[in-house]
């Protein structure tokens, strides 16, 4: 059972006429517990993040400090199991400990490709903020001055695909338990009204991993087909309609950025770049500009283009 303080005094039991209470969960924002410098990732409630700051968190180059919004969910349950009870011959039942709290939800119209993206979350120390249907952000308020991600018991992280049926759409069934150290009374929320009017936690999308296949490399240009992990194994979905300002070309030999002269997109998702002549044999990378949000170009950068 919970450890009681010997000097405990009862807390007062009044209620306000209108008590804010969280709505049904619609989305999770997965957040690593620690960033790469071992500092806790959490929101300082004295400095509520703006839309720009939230976008910076989602696009953080430090993947251990990044916020990972999952798609909207349906059929969410977030319930604590019955407590563990020891019964005695007299009929007395003593509570041994709280039951575990389990979260389940369905990510609709998603399949194995996406499951592969999130199944690895169960290998890391992560927590989650819950976004409810009103756009409130729910987290762990147990440390004064902060709203922290609610810690997830990583060993319980379960991602499974449910295929399309005759009368049902495909979805991913996500389930996990919160860490047993998280008490119900630790949960608190930042209300949607605490954020600026342009913040809507229900609207944010996570990053998309980019991959590339290069061709037609010369000293004055190259072509790159920019793809994602999703879709056909042979012809994955491409990323279309990017502008030249969304890209950077980096010459690894001169350690400098190469100015793009022209960029032609033809066909959709295949980008041909030209630039002033570089030295033959130099190796270039195609990168996503730091000012462009929504993409993780780690894999795209790993494509060495030999001019």
């Amino acid at each position: 059972m919970p450890v009681c303080e010997c000097s405990v005094t009862l807390k007062n039991s009044g209620t306000l006429g209108c008590m804010p209470i969280q709505d049904v969960a619609r989305r999770l924002i997965i957040v690593p517990i620690y960033d790469s410098s071992n500092a806790l990732n959490r929101i300082d409630t004295s400095s509520i993040p703006t839309n720009t700051q939230i976008l910076a968190l989602i696009n953080n180059s430090d993947d251990k400090a990044r916020f990972y919004p999952l798609p909207l969910m349906e059929n969410v349950t977030n319930e604590r199991a019955d407590p563990i009870i020891q019964s005695f011959p007299s009929g007395k039942n003593i509570k041994v400990r709280d039951g575990e709290k389990t979260f389940t939800g369905q990510l609709l119209l998603l399949g194995a490709d996406y499951a592969g993206q999130i199944e690895g979350y169960g290998c890391a120390e992560v927590g989650a903020y819950i976004v409810d249907a009103q756009g409130n952000l729910i987290g762990d308020k147990s440390v004064t001055g902060y709203l922290s991600p609610i810690r997830i018991d990583k060993a319980t992280w379960d991602v499974r695909t449910v295929d399309t049926k005759d009368q049902e759409v495909a979805y991913i069934q996500l389930g996990f338990q919160w860490k047993s150290s998280v008490k119900d009374s630790d949960i608190g929320m930042l209300m949607y009204s605490d954020f600026a009017s342009d913040v809507d936690w229900l609207d944010y999308n996570g990053l998309i991993d980019l991959y590339g296949t290069s061709s037609a490399a010369s000293t004055t240009g190259f072509t790159m087909k920019v793809t994602t992990l999703f879709g056909s194994v042979a012809n994955p979905k491409v990323v279309t309609n990017l502008d030249s300002t969304d890209f950077e070309i980096y010459n690894e030999n001169t350690a400098s950025t190469v100015t793009i002269s022209t960029m032609t997109e033809d066909p959709a998702g295949t980008y041909a770049f030209t630039f002033t002549a570089q030295t033959a044999g130099n190796i270039c990378q195609l990168r996503i500009a730091s000012t462009t949000n929504g993409y993780d170009d780690t894999n795209l950068r790993s494509v060495d283009v030999t001019l």
Partner: protein, 51 residues
Amino acid sequence: MVFRSGNKKIDIASGLFKRSKKGDKGKFTALLNSIGYRGDTNQAWKDYLSL
């Protein structure tokens, strides 16, 4: 500056071509033609130079 033709698109850096440089207008027009640009290339050239 971005020019489009159907699903094709070309983005030409400002300053790459100059009004005063001989042959630049032809190179510019050739780039537009490479995507099958169907608009007025003279107007596109003026728009490009006005950037």
